[in-house]
């Protein structure tokens, strides 16, 4: 393909519409237009000029803004579909079967279809991620394709543009004025005072302001690309940790994936608002809603195991710090953060019983069973003893005579005990549950009577490490800079020329906010004599003028 040589002598790259130097329209199509497209200064978007190989074709595909917009539309619609029903993340079920059952039970056939089609886990699906990936590719290629020619054009533009360029600008005026050269000089002065950069070439001036804002869109695209890059990095090992742990008051547990840190819960605090605090302000709300949570926090102590420590033994734990973890105030250490996410109140901690005579209700001693660590026997008064044969933390019933427990969490503790007394030196067997006692080997004289219970709270904590955050933050920052750069400033240019035939021509262009550039021109016209301009695109005003209003 051939480069285009303009009448003015400048050699333009293939496909250029307006001469980079003087602005002449270089092909018939452009000449036929009343107003010229100034979005890329008339430069050729490179991809539109080369279309030979398959690589070119793919490149052009991604360079197209139209394609980019369709990708945005696709992401938009897909994202909306994901909000019709709750996504799996928010569904209270643990494995695939439970999840499928949940959707069917709550949402019926629609729910099942939604689940089967994978829409219930839409944002992690390969096609959604693929769409976002395509958007990333589009951002890279479309930006590269435009910013380079644009930069070159704006650098190469000449002060003196050809009349065929100026007549095709949206704001254009021409006419005869008294002492045109003086007018131009006064205009130059005024524009300089208005902080325009003014260049002079004979009897032509180009006043330019705000070119930097043209780069705004490309800066913000860079920010987005960086952001997407950061998101991609998460897939790499070591960059991202997301774990949960349930920590009971008094417990010390290893913090998952943190390489040697342990957390002890000293206390979990839960507070609600009381009317006494503020009847006037909160009274009405509390009446309507009932109880409103005021604060919940986990007071914890952080420990670190020794450097060469190996899993299993928590000896030699070094105390690091003590903190209260609240919502909005995570515990931070190393690159990790621990967040207060959830809690369970009043989990059973210990139960206190008495060994009693069933008839007389005489007590032969009291003992307390620590549900996390029951002892095998509890010695009471002389000759009396209780032996715990077995313990079922989450008792669910009997299966073929064998007691079953469904988890190690003390939701429904039950005990198989043997009661020893002087009358029964060989022991009486009893199966003690909450509120009920079974006597499987025949009636007993004694029983285990429940006295009281102690509870403790459990904190639900989330452990998070995210090394991609700084990159995401940088991407976000660059995006904001770019979007502000491109939106809050604009690129204005004013051309004023004295033609050979004595006419003075004035033209102006801005990429946005025409009102301001017109105001600027009006300002300049106040001090220097310039021909009246018109907005060749404002149909309403033109109509009004024609109607003589």
């Amino acid at each position: 393909m051939d480069k285009i040589v303009c009448t003015c002598g400048h050699v333009n790259p293939v496909g250029t519409e307006l001469c980079e130097s003087c602005g002449r329209p270089l092909n018939q199509e452009t000449k036929d237009k009343k107003l010229v497209d100034m979005r890329y200064e008339g430069s050729a978007r490179r991809s539109q000029t080369y279309n030979k190989t398959i690589i070119d074709k793919i490149w052009n595909f991604f360079s197209s803004v139209k394609v980019g917009m369709w990708i945005i539309v696709a992401i938009l619609i897909a994202a909306a579909i994901g909000t019709i029903l709750p996504q799996v993340f928010y569904v209270p079920a643990v494995n695939e079967e439970e999840i499928a059952a949940y959707y069917e039970r709550i949402y019926g056939t629609f729910g099942t279809i939604y689940y089967e089609l994978g829409l219930s886990d839409l944002y992690s699906s390969w096609w959604f991620q693929g769409l976002v990936g395509m958007l990333g590719i589009s951002l890279v290629i479309a930006s590269l394709d435009r910013v380079i020619p644009l930069y070159k054009s704006l650098k190469k533009q000449k002060t003196k543009r050809h009349i065929s360029f100026l007549t095709r600008q949206r704001v254009y005026g021409t006419g005869e004025v008294d002492s045109p050269i003086k007018s131009i000089e006064q205009a130059e002065e005024k524009l300089k005072k208005m902080r325009y950069k003014v260049k002079r070439d004979g009897n032509a001036i180009l006043a330019e302001k705000g070119r930097f804002s043209r780069w705004g869109p490309y800066v913000n695209h860079l920010g987005l690309i960086l952001f997407l890059f950061g998101v991609m990095l998460r897939a790499l090992p070591g960059f991202y940790v997301d774990e949960t742990m349930w920590l009971r008051e008094g417990e010390t547990l290893y913090i998952p994936k943190t390489d040697g840190y342990f957390l002890e819960s000293k206390e979990f605090i839960y507070e609600t608002y009381t009317k006494e605090e503020s009847e006037e302000v909160y009274g009405a709300a509390l009446d309507r809603v009932g109880s409103i949570a005021k604060n919940y926090q986990s007071d914890v102590a952080l420990y670190k195991g020794p450097e060469d420590a190996v899993a299993g033994q928590p000896e030699d734990l070094a105390f690091v710090k003590e903190e209260s973890i609240q919502v909005n105030k995570p515990l931070k250490f190393d690159h990790f953060s621990v967040f207060q996410m959830d809690f369970r109140l009043d989990e059973l901690k210990s139960m206190t019983f008495q060994l009693q005579d069933k008839e007389t209700a005489n007590s032969f001693g009291e003992f307390t069973i620590d549900l996390a660590n029951p002892q095998t026997e509890y010695k009471l008064q002389n000759g009396y003893k209780v032996e715990i044969l077995d313990y079922y933390a989450d008792f669910t019933g009997f299966e073929e005579g064998v007691p079953q427990s469904k988890s190690p969490i003390p939701n429904n503790p039950a005990f198989l005990v043997k009661m020893y007394s002087p009358e029964y030196p060989k022991g009486e067997t009893s199966f003690v549950m909450i509120k009920e006692t079974l006597e499987p080997l025949g009636e007993n004289k004694h029983k285990i009577a429940f006295q009281s219970v102690e509870t403790r709270d459990v904190s639900g904590l989330t452990i998070r490490k995210d090394l991609t955050l700084p990159i995401l933050a940088l991407g976000g920052l660059i995006f904001m800079i770019g979007v502000a750069q491109g939106s809050y400033w604009n690129h204005r240019r004013i051309w004023i020329q004295l033609l050979e035939n004595g006419q003075v021509v004035v033209a102006a262009h801005t990429n946005k906010n025409w009102l301001s550039v017109k105001k600027d021109l009006d300002e300049v016209s106040k001090v220097s004599n310039l021909p009246q301009y018109e907005d060749q695109q404002d149909i309403d005003s033109q109509e009004e003028k024609e109607e003589g209003v």
Partner: protein, 392 residues
């Protein structure tokens, strides 16, 4: 302090109504922009608007002091703040472009927003732990600000369409602009329905079985067109529901929405009967005085100014706060997703303008749809698609 706050809001509300009429006067009074009467109307209108806005700010500040936190923590507070900022954004744009037509349409929208907000529980609620953060102030206020500026672009687009659509010929545009009018009337219907039943002090209690199979009671403030799952009336002579809903559906909300539609439709039909014209056609003369090119420019400018603010508030600050509070900066919950959709949509708006040269009519429709998406996020996502994030 609390009652002072409510009074200030009421004053603002009334001021905006008066402002609407004054802007109407300004628009009607002349065709060219230089007669004295026009200047007088216009000046009075903007002064009254500013008085209203100052009073509105007063409500905001006094409520902040009384509650001890920024008054953007529940649906009522947020929506009123949003309405206030729409007026603020309008005032800002008015001083740049000086178009009364914009005020004539923007103020009633703000009034409607505040009226809608007032239908929800207004008591000052103490902050739950998740909201106890300075990010509440920063994120919510910036997001509301961004949205209100974007709202102005929809108003400008609306005016453009009202002016330029030929109401005498049958067309898709004529149908859809009337559909938008109907939607606005439905909001009015909601306000009228809620208010009417509130004045009548209608209350009826029912028991029902929820989806986790436990029994609860619920109080209806409107006659129960739809009943909750296995509902049984507890109040004497309570309205018998016309249909019972499965546990998945919140029949009380469905009832409210249905009453709103009923009231709204009746109001719409009455208006059509009385006025003998399409509502859009009725408003058209008021829009005729506006300069289309200027409306187009305002619409574009509003998006240009508002988009960065919206990004900052609704996405960036939101992500930072989400990370501090919920350990993850993005969880794809419905409100976050719809904020993203809004953001993508306005990015689309900007690209369509720049790349495809979509100006004038196309741009106006897109701006209008953008506002509908914002409203969807505010209304449907908060009330229907509930999540961790919903207000109500």
């Amino acid at each position: 302090m609390v009652s002072l706050s409510s009074n200030l809001l009421f004053i603002a509300f009334v001021a905006y109504l008066i402002g609407t009429f004054l802007f109407g006067g300004a628009v009607r009074s002349s065709s060219s922009e230089s007669t004295k009467s026009y200047a007088r109307w216009g000046k009075m209108a903007i002064i009254v608007t500013i008085i209203g806005f100052v009073s509105n700010l007063g409500y905001f500040i006094t409520r902040w002091i009384a509650a001890g936190h920024a008054p953007v923590s529940n649906l009522f507070e947020f929506t009123t703040a949003f309405g206030m900022m729409v007026v603020g954004a309008f005032i800002l744009i008015y001083f740049i472009y000086k178009t009364p037509a914009l005020g004539l349409f923007a103020l009633p929208i703000a009034v409607l927003i505040i009226a809608y907000a007032s239908m929800f529980p207004k008591e000052i609620t103490p902050l739950i732990p998740a909201l106890k953060s300075y990010w509440l102030t920063i994120h919510v206020i910036t997001a509301a600000l961004g949205e209100s500026i974007l709202a102005i672009s929809a108003v400008a687009g609306f005016i453009w369409l009202l002016k330029n659509i030929d109401m005498t010929k049958k067309s898709k545009q004529r149908f859809w602009i009337e559909a938008v009018m109907y939607l606005l009337i439905l909001v009015v219907g909601f306000v009228v329905a809620q208010t009417s039943f509130a004045i009548a002090d209608y209350k009826a209690e029912y028991s029902y079985v929820s989806k986790d199979e436990t029994e609860h009671t619920i109080e209806y403030n409107m006659p129960a067109l739809f009943g909750m799952n296995q509902s049984v009336a507890l109040t004497e002579n309570a309205f018998e529901p016309l249909a019972e809903m499965p546990p998945l559906v919140n029949a009380k909300k469905l009832t409210t929405v249905t009453w709103a539609i009923l009231f709204g439709t009746v109001i719409y039909l009455l208006l059509r009967l009385i006025l003998r014209k399409r509502l859009a056609a009725v408003l058209q003369p008021l829009a005729k005085k506006a300069n289309s090119q200027l409306m187009d420019e305002i619409g574009y400018r509003a998006v240009l100014i508002g988009f960065p603010v919206f990004t900052l508030g609704a996405l960036i600050f939101a992500m930072i706060w989400a990370h501090e509070a919920w350990s993850r900066f993005w969880g794809w919950d419905p409100k976050e997703v719809w904020a993203l959709i809004t953001w993508l949509f306005y990015a689309l708006f900007l690209h369509l303008r720049l790349s495809k040269g979509w100006q004038g009519e196309k741009s106006a429709w897109i701006a209008l749809i953008g506002f509908i998406i914002i409203m969807f996020n505010l209304i449907a996502v908060n009330l229907i698609i509930a999540g961790l994030h919903s207000y109500a």
